[in-house]
Symmetry: C2
Subunit: 126 residues, 2 copies
DNA sequence: AATTTGCTACTACGGATGTAGTTTACTTGA
DNA sequence: TCAAGTAAACTACATCCGTAGTAGCAAATT
């Protein structure tokens, strides 16, 4: 399987919107960005084009004279890539990452317990 | 406190070496890179210079005609920044990150149990 | 002292990224 | 049908990053 492309921060933000909207025009994506940080229409357009080149979204149809775009890659695959990249930086070990999360209070023991349960359930079959 | 600078992948790799060496010349850093992926001396030099500009390392002294460099920022602060950045992409929640780690087998329940213990010990005081 | 060696400083350059203006083409309302 | 409004395409551009060459100075060696 082809290794999913690496997306930049901004591309990620746009992808997030496309994922949420399911299918959207450039204009719709742009207007989904909070007004106080909304970039120019053409900026969003450029990013969407780049996402298209990277195979992250595709054109679905045309409404009026606007093209509609839909996601091609899944949130999961992108997230996995992000995490894998981070792990590489940490020498491949996940433990320090979790340790940091705990330390900074971003993750609580309760969170972990909840996840454990979920994981245990899944663990058996597979 | 000033927000620590964002380092690139390559800068991170170089920092890793500086941290490990404690104090080192550009040449020493370069030669600490595995031969098969060792970049040109001047490439490493450029990165070290950029790290210096970013305030990540500083010149300590001169040995012969070579400058020595030492880390200014800590591994911990950089790691924290990396993780915080990742969390931002995930909307600030750590849970999906850990869920992914578990799912991909990068993290086992044993790892978590070990971390839990460590954290519980620390948890009380603080 | 003169030559060689090694290091620093400076310069360069292509591709990626964030940001957006301009031109062209299509749609739709009057 | 013709103008007004949008949207797509194309072009632009500064900055960052990875990568490295070159010039010049300092140190060591003969």
């Amino acid at each position: 399987m082809k290794r999913s492309t690496r997306l930049t921060r901004f591309e990620l933000e746009i992808m997030d919107l496309v994922w949420r909207l399911g299918e959207a025009s450039v204009r719709e994506v742009q207007e989904a960005i909070p007004e106080d940080e909304r970039p120019a229409y053409t900026t969003v357009q450029t990013i969407v084009q780049r996402l298209e080149q990277k195979g992250a979204v595709r054109r679905t149809r045309k409404i009026g004279n606007a093209l509609m775009f839909a996601p091609v890659i899944t949130r999961k695959s992108v997230y996995r890539r992000l995490i894998d990249d981070l792990l590489d930086l940490f020498g491949g070990s996940a433990q320090p990452v979790v340790a940091h999360l705990l330390e900074s209070g971003k993750l609580t023991l309760e969170d972990i317990k909840a996840l454990e349960k979920k994981e245990e359930k899944k663990g058996g079959r597979k």
